[in-house]
Amino acid sequence: MSTAAPQPVTPRPAVSGADRTAVRPAAAEPQTVAVRNWSVPILLSVFTLVSLLVFSLNAPAETATFRISNPSDAVVLPDLAAPAGPTAWVLTAVLAAATAAAWLLTVRGRRVPGWLAGLFALAFVAAFLVWVVGSADNTTVFLTGLIAGSFTLAVPLIFGSMAGILSERSGVVNIAIEGQLLAGAFLAAVVGSQTGSVWAGLIAAVVAGVLVSWLLAVFSITYLVNQVIVGVVLNVLVAGLTSFLFSTVLSDNSSTLNSPPRFPQIRIPGLADIPVIGPILFDQTILGYGMYLIVGLLWFGLFRTRWGLRVRAVGEHPKAADTVGIAVNRTRYLSVLLGGAVAGMGGAFFTLVSASSFSKEMTAGQGFIALAAVIFGRWNPIGAFFAALLFGFATNMQYVLAILGTPVPSQFMAMLPYLVTVFAVAGLVGRSRGPAAAGVPYVKE
């Protein structure tokens, strides 16, 4: 992902109390030898092998058809028809070439560039799609719908990851995204049902998110409790509380307490008619449009404004921020609470957009995937946005393939987003370096 945060990936020297420059050579004439990271070419080789053995040699005799436009659309583009066998061979050749390049670069002690890894990922996904669609009972898939669905599924992830970025950039580890989403979903459903207003529901969701994050802030900033533990405890607390209220109160009064109104889709005339992009970007609920706004604003805010400079400073070196007169803990409180508000909006998406009512633990671990998106996106809003899209795509693949009737067991498909998460976070993006002071409470001596 080329939209990483503007930080070099040099390792931080072991910080000793005595001197933080301990490990680094002092000045110019940098003496380095190449560090060969063999994990990238090895990983690429494994994937190429999978593509060769499964997608190419085991290719179905069918033609996979990717529909791009609906017949009723203003502009109708022809379908993409890919004969499974030949397409797989071509894509495997591309994969093999990329792998060879990666080996060559690594042997020469150079890094595998991001675009090469990106090209590889794209080709692999394409090969997988052609194979799986070609082997399905129904060999036609609506590509635009697949992508648009990914965007929809990614919405709560993106809200969640923005909450994570806000909190972690200021130095507070936010494991409680899951709890914030769930609390938002719950309160949005209840208040929305009671008032009949989606806006009241949205505001309630924001309040719920802020409440959960306020608990996180109080315990981790004021009382210096381990932030990971507070986060985990909050998740369990919110899950337990909402489940309890759901089964004791909501399920008996679902018509008055658990049938919230829903945000309407807003089609932007003209723009929504652009093939592929139109239905994906310009046919959303107000929450979806708000999401784009928040991602953009957060990126601009963090990297171009005084507010962002201070938030980042507090997350990197709170004492330095303190010595120039920045109120460290107040900045952290505000960031965490703001994050809670954003996560609450993401929670509202569950009950005011995607489902018609609240159900037990309906966030199903999405808060943790959002956390992964934060790391994968290197604590950069735009990076996290694309990471969340990737995760959304993996989830949607699972749904679409289940409908098509693929040879791959659905349980395996259900693992897909989590597998992607592990690979993404573990190795492919190189070392991801977060805010230095994240997780460390600031105590003024």
Partner: protein, 509 residues
């Protein structure tokens, strides 16, 4: 501008870090606060800078009483501070660091870094700083980082500049440059508070000297005062600044490092093809500015660096590739650079720390169990022998002062039958009284016939202890010179300049 501290007292619980301190600083003068580590200099300055609230007393600026609730207010009042550990965000650029807290903004809080860059260039040109506003701070050498700190203060129109132990991390050349900068600032009418315990610099730069000991002002002195006089005032008793040690009785060369190279995790060559030998009864001191590979050199010898190649031989046995435990068992004593992170477990008792590396051998214990009584007895004996000031060996070691903690480490490592003794920064953050004691023990170990390797960034310490001095720069040993080499020559070597004449042993013998 005139700054006055009147009767400042700062207590932490029952401990008084500052007691009734009076101090006057005037513009156009350099006022030095002289005192040992732990004398209360930094506490006093943190009070002045608004980081600490004084328990008693008042601060007057131009005769008016002021009270700072935080550093922001102190800065607005014209006080700037260069902290001992730089207060810079490593991943930020110079401009971002300078702007932080005092940002130029356009509408809606949008940063205007260009205005900051302009100011940095102006100041940089005025004082000859050569600082690129767009450089990322963590990539800069410490000397330049320090200038960034000074720029930070000047951008905020500091009329009083506090420099807290500014020379601790600098080469002698960089120190000279800094002193020149201070002279310029003084000429421009800035009041400078210079905090140090290094007598040479203090004498070179000061207009007034105030000496602190145990939180109290114990006297003022004139910069023309004799160094020994200043030292005595600082320590509270007469100090022998340079003691003659006996000529070394050299034995065989039992320790030899050949072509040792250490590569860091991202591929930086931290130690570059280093070779040297140490004879029995000899002290080889490695001098150099912090971060030139000395730490990694000792760690590689102790088996603590995964990517080390070459050869490290003790009595003909190869140590490289052995586990640290086996190297210790071979008979190597090792005092690591940072006692609080690598040398001691702070929450463990003095007794437990005393057997950290030998807990599973007699008398401390066996492979399955500890013998608490034996450990206590052993610890009590060592505590008495090394004059560790503690209320008891059962107290957590973190409750001791820095000097006493260091004595605990030293007592643990200086056991009988050593075949090699390595000490990295043996007296960092240790009071002068303890320094004398620790130096005596090191020399005693040498005289017992052990090869001794010392790493120190304090030139005074190197010259005090060394029979030969190896100077490291960018991971290489630039030269190995006799122990009585001149300060100037060592200074040049530490900056990486090789002298034409090499004597005794070449850089790669």
């Amino acid at each position: 501008m005139k700054l006055e501290l009147r009767g400042i007292t700062k207590r932490f619980g029952s401990f008084a870090a500052n007691e009734d301190v009076h101090l006057t600083v005037e513009s156009g003068r350099v006022h030095t606060l002289l005192g040992e580590n732990g004398a209360g200099k930094s506490t006093l300055m943190n009070v002045l800078f608004g980081l600490y609230e004084p328990t008693e007393g008042e601060i007057l600026l131009d005769g008016r009483s002021v009270r700072f609730s935080g550093p922001g207010e102190a800065m607005r009042a014209g006080i700037g501070m260069v902290h001992q550990h730089f207060m810079l965000v490593p991943v930020f650029t110079v401009a971002e660091n300078v702007a932080l807290g005092d940002e130029h903004t356009r509408a809606a809080g949008i940063l205007d870094l260009e205005a900051t860059r302009r100011r940095i260039r102006e100041i940089s040109d005025q004082y000859g700083f050569h600082v690129d506003p767009d450089a990322v701070v963590e990539d800069l050498p410490v000397g330049v980082q320090q200038r960034v700190e000074i720029i930070k203060a000047l951008v905020r129109d500091a009329r009083i500049l506090i420099l807290d132990e500014p020379t601790a991390v600098l080469t002698p050349q960089e120190t000279d440059e800094l002193l020149e900068i201070i002279r310029q600032l003084r000429a421009d009418g800035t009041a400078v508070v210079f905090i140090s315990h290094k007598l040479r610099e203090v004498k070179a730069i000061s207009d007034d000297i105030t000496v602190l000991r145990r939180g109290r002002v114990v006297g003022t002195a004139d910069p023309t005062a004799d160094a020994a006089e200043l030292a005595a005032l600082m320590v509270g008793r007469d100090v022998v600044l340079h003691r003659a040690k006996a000529e070394p009785r050299l034995g065989e060369e039992t320790f030899r490092v050949e072509h040792l190279t250490v590569v860091g995790p991202t591929g930086q060559v931290l130690v570059n093809d280093v070779s040297f030998g140490i004879r029995q009864g000899e002290v080889l001191a490695v001098a150099g500015v912090q971060g030139n590979g000395q730490t990694e050199l000792t760690e590689a010898i102790m088996g603590l660096q995964p990517k080390a190649t070459g050869s490290v031989r003790l009595d003909g046995e190869e140590l490289l590739g052995r586990s640290t435990r086996r190297i210790i068992r071979t008979g190597v004593g090792y005092v690591p650079e940072d006692r609080s992170t690598d040398g001691l477990v702070g929450s463990f008792s003095v007794a437990e720390n005393m057997v950290l590396n030998r807990f599973d051998t007699a008398p401390a214990g066996t492979a399955v169990q500890l013998r608490p009584r034996a450990i206590r007895e052993l610890a009590e004996r060592r505590v008495a022998e090394f004059d560790v000031r503690t209320q008891g060996v059962d107290l957590p070691v973190s409750s001791l002062s820095g000097g006493n903690q260091q004595k605990v480490v030293m007592a643990r490592e200086l056991v009988d039958g050593l075949r090699l003794f390595i000490a990295s920064q043996p007296t960092r953050g240790v009071d002068v009284g303890s320094i004398e004691f620790l130096h005596d023990r090191i020399i005693a170990e040498r005289d017992a016939g052990t090869p001794v390797l010392i790493v120190s960034t304090e030139l005074d310490e190197v010259m005090e202890l060394a029979d030969r001095i190896a100077v490291m720069y960018h991971g290489r040993i630039v030269d190995i010179v006799p122990g009585d080499a001149s300060r100037d020559r060592l200074g040049l070597l530490m900056a990486g300049q090789t002298a034409g004449d090499t004597d005794q042993e070449g850089p790669r013998a």
